[in-house]
């Protein structure tokens, strides 16, 4: 757990609709710059939980603190203007142009028109919506992916420190979804943001989360890092929830550091050394998935005794190129297999 004060803290949140409890006694903390993913099956209460954070839903019991202050201490509108909000259906104002949609919150906050225009142009450019083409368009003239990009730009326009996202990629086709998610992850804007995101997509959760809160029937099943949920599931529900995508998740959750002990000693056979022409070395924090992805792109050497694709690992931060370790598909997957067994993860 980070030691700094949490930016968002939920304490014992409970919400009933009629006799039915949709959220029961949920507590969590999100530190500055961290991403918390609310994960769970449909109807588990994750959206309700998210909407309590910006007071679109008021809890029956419990409090939400933002930067240590009860959210009820200020008008709901003011609170919301300090939090970006992105929803699955996007909800762009159909009678506003793209630029006007992006400018909604800065205008509410009374920013100068020139500053708003500059910010809008900057954001649209960064989200691959060239402003000269898109600024004057209306939402109905955009594709689903473009609309969601505008939705993101709108949430980011006033540069709020907190972003709430409710299945932001849920309505997109798989290809668009993957590409927008990648852009999203790489967006420098978001690096500094504290984010809470709702999803039911396990892969998405593992890709984006620092912490995952797994919910079922309004109750917390487990709160922890993706790796903790995968390697030390708190109960059967957690185990079953990840069972179907076990392998993919393991590839995302395990890092090179986890498998270093299982790698064959390179010096046993042929001594290979890293040269400048090779791909950038991977650090130990890279996931197995990322190592595989880089292997897939690596060129196969045409000469030499080992005609295999190869990437390099830097065993420590300060290691010299001479100490870099080579990885091939065979060595990587073998080590991954041993590591999984060692860590006691059950195979499906």
């Amino acid at each position: 757990m980070p030691t700094t004060d949490p930016v968002i803290e939920a304490r014992n949140l409970t919400k009933h609709y009629g006799p039915h409890a949709v959220v029961q006694d949920v507590s969590f903390r999100v530190a500055a710059g961290q991403t918390l993913v609310l994960l769970g099956p449909s109807g588990c209460g994750k959206t309700t939980l998210l909407r309590m954070l910006n007071r679109l839903v008021e809890p029956d019991i419990g409090v939400v603190l933002v930067n240590g202050h009860d959210v009820r201490d200020q008008p709901a509108e003011q609170l919301r203007r300090g939090m970006g909000y992105v929803i699955q259906q996007v909800g762009l104002l159909p009678h506003y142009t793209v630029a006007e949609n992006v400018a909604v919150v800065p205008r509410l906050l009374g920013h100068a028109p020139a500053a708003i225009a500059a910010r809008t142009t900057e954001l649209l450019g960064r989200l691959h919506l060239p402003p000269e083409r898109f600024a004057g368009r209306y939402p109905r003239q955009l594709s689903g992916g473009q609309q969601q990009r505008v939705g993101l730009a709108r949430a980011l326009a006033a540069d709020p420190p907190i972003i709430l996202l409710d299945e932001p990629f849920g309505a997109l086709d798989p290809i668009t979804r993957a590409s927008i998610r990648r852009e999203f992850r790489e967006l420098p804007e978001l690096r500094r943001k504290t984010m809470v995101m709702v999803t039911h997509d396990v892969t998405e959760a593992f890709e984006l989360a620092d912490q995952i809160l797994l919910l079922d029937a309004g109750q917390v099943q487990q709160l922890g890092t993706p790796r903790e949920l995968l390697l030390r599931p708190a109960n059967d529900f957690v185990r079953r929830f990840f069972a179907a995508e076990q392998l993919g998740l393991q590839l995302r959750a395990l890092r090179l550091a986890d498998i270093m002990a299982e790698l064959p000693q390179a010096s046993d056979t042929i001594i290979l050394t890293y040269s400048e022409s090779d791909t950038q070395p991977l650090s130990l924090t890279a996931t197995i998935q990322e190592a595989l992805a880089q292997l897939g792109q690596a060129a196969v050497p045409s000469l030499g005794e080992s005609a295999e694709a190869r990437v390099w690992v830097r065993p420590t931060e300060t290691a010299a190129p001479a100490d870099f370790l080579p990885l091939t598909y065979a060595t990587l997957m073998a080590a991954f297999g041993y590591a999984v067994r060692r860590l006691g993860i059950e195979q499906p």
Partner: protein
Amino acid sequence: MTILSELLTFWQAQADKIGQQTLQHIGLTAASLVAGVAVGVPLGLLLTRRPRLAPWVLGGAGVLQTIPSIALLGFLIPVLGIGPGPAILALFLYSLLPIVRNTLAGVRGVDAAVVDAARGLGLTDWQVLRRVELPLALPVLLAGIRTAAVINVGVATLAAYIAAGGLGEFIFGGIALNNPAMILAGAIPAAVLALLFDAALAGVQRLSGRRLAWAGRALLVGLPLLAGLYLLPRAASKLLAGFSPEFVGRSDGLPGLRRTYGLHPASVVLAPALVYEAARTGDVDLIDGYSTDGRIKAYDLRVLRDDRHAFPPYQAVPVVRRQTLDEHPELVPALARLAGQLSDSVMTELNYRVDLKHETPRAVALDFLRRRGLWHEPLPATGATIRLGSKIFGEQYILAELYAALIRGYTHLGVEAKTGLGGTSICADALRTGAIDLYPEYTGTGLLVVLQPSPAVLDSLGPDPAAVLGYVRREYRRRYQLEWLEPLGFNNTYALLMRRQQAERLGIRTVSELSAYLR
């Protein structure tokens, strides 16, 4: 083709009047729409925030909508009297349902995700309403206003019945006089107005985005201006007259007064049933009526003497089939017992008891006969049955009861009453074909409605009651083998009436004096 040319002639002759009525009509419609929008839109928006009230409010507005417009006006008269007030209120009530319902439907139709996103971004409830819900609901809302506008242009024709003017004046005049050209003269501009309102609002509806918002604002400014049109043509005059549509159109009505006396009072048109009431309450000062109407006595009105005989005589006379008289000669003396017995004031008194005291015509008739010593126990009916007709108003019912009692008392004939026949031509046809044997008719009506002589003949007859009676008697006998017997004594003619108090204060007893006063 003749109707078309009549119509064009009519329009040419009445161009000012049509123009004024059109402006009034637009004014009435616009004023009620302004009120409808001013109340309906906020009410609809309130319902979006208090959905539990929606079924009640919409149900209430729906019930209002189902009240027939003429009945709604009727309900409002006791509260608001006559004139533009109740007319605009009634139109306003009719416009409520479409406006409230469409406001609600429009706002409800706004994509929930858009509203959710807007709230999540930090728009206040008011901002969500003004910047998101209202603009997005505008096309549906405008459709409601458009519906209301078209309904109101139509219903506004009824305003003519309560002295609020508009294009209904000619329509009702035309209906009363069975004059299709006159009906069309009002109906065509009303239809064109409805189409124009519809097209204009449809055009506004088709606009999109910003232009739509501007058009909405323009409408908010423009409608009250249009409503202001209503105030323009109100003329100032010493006295305000309220006339029934038939009187305004009939040649022996207002046009006749104009010819004879040069009388041009500022006037409004209203339903015949409301004329007396309007005079009583002081909404108008001068009305048309019938000289034997019971309300003259009840409301303390004065009949202005027709000193230059603009109105032809309308003596009441029993009209009988020749064949019936030949077969049953004993009818003649029985019917003759009533001849000359009923003066204007006596008939007015009897009408008063029926129309205002709500006594039955039979009770009033029998009481009258007893007091005059004309009553006789019915004789056993051994002979044929005489079928008695009457038109559909109190005086005729009383006369029919009088004759029925006389026939039963002084002959052995049976009596079958066929009272309440719709109008003059129905009675006349029934008599000619033998569906009835006799009914009371008025000489002037027989002359103008049934015989319809040339103007030259009319001029030659002049205002002399005996000459008119002689002419209708001769012509009825020649054409239809029908007999006009002896007059009952009273003359139920058109009359100009004023409140007695006002007439006395102004020293007006005759139409000539009225004309002089107005000049």
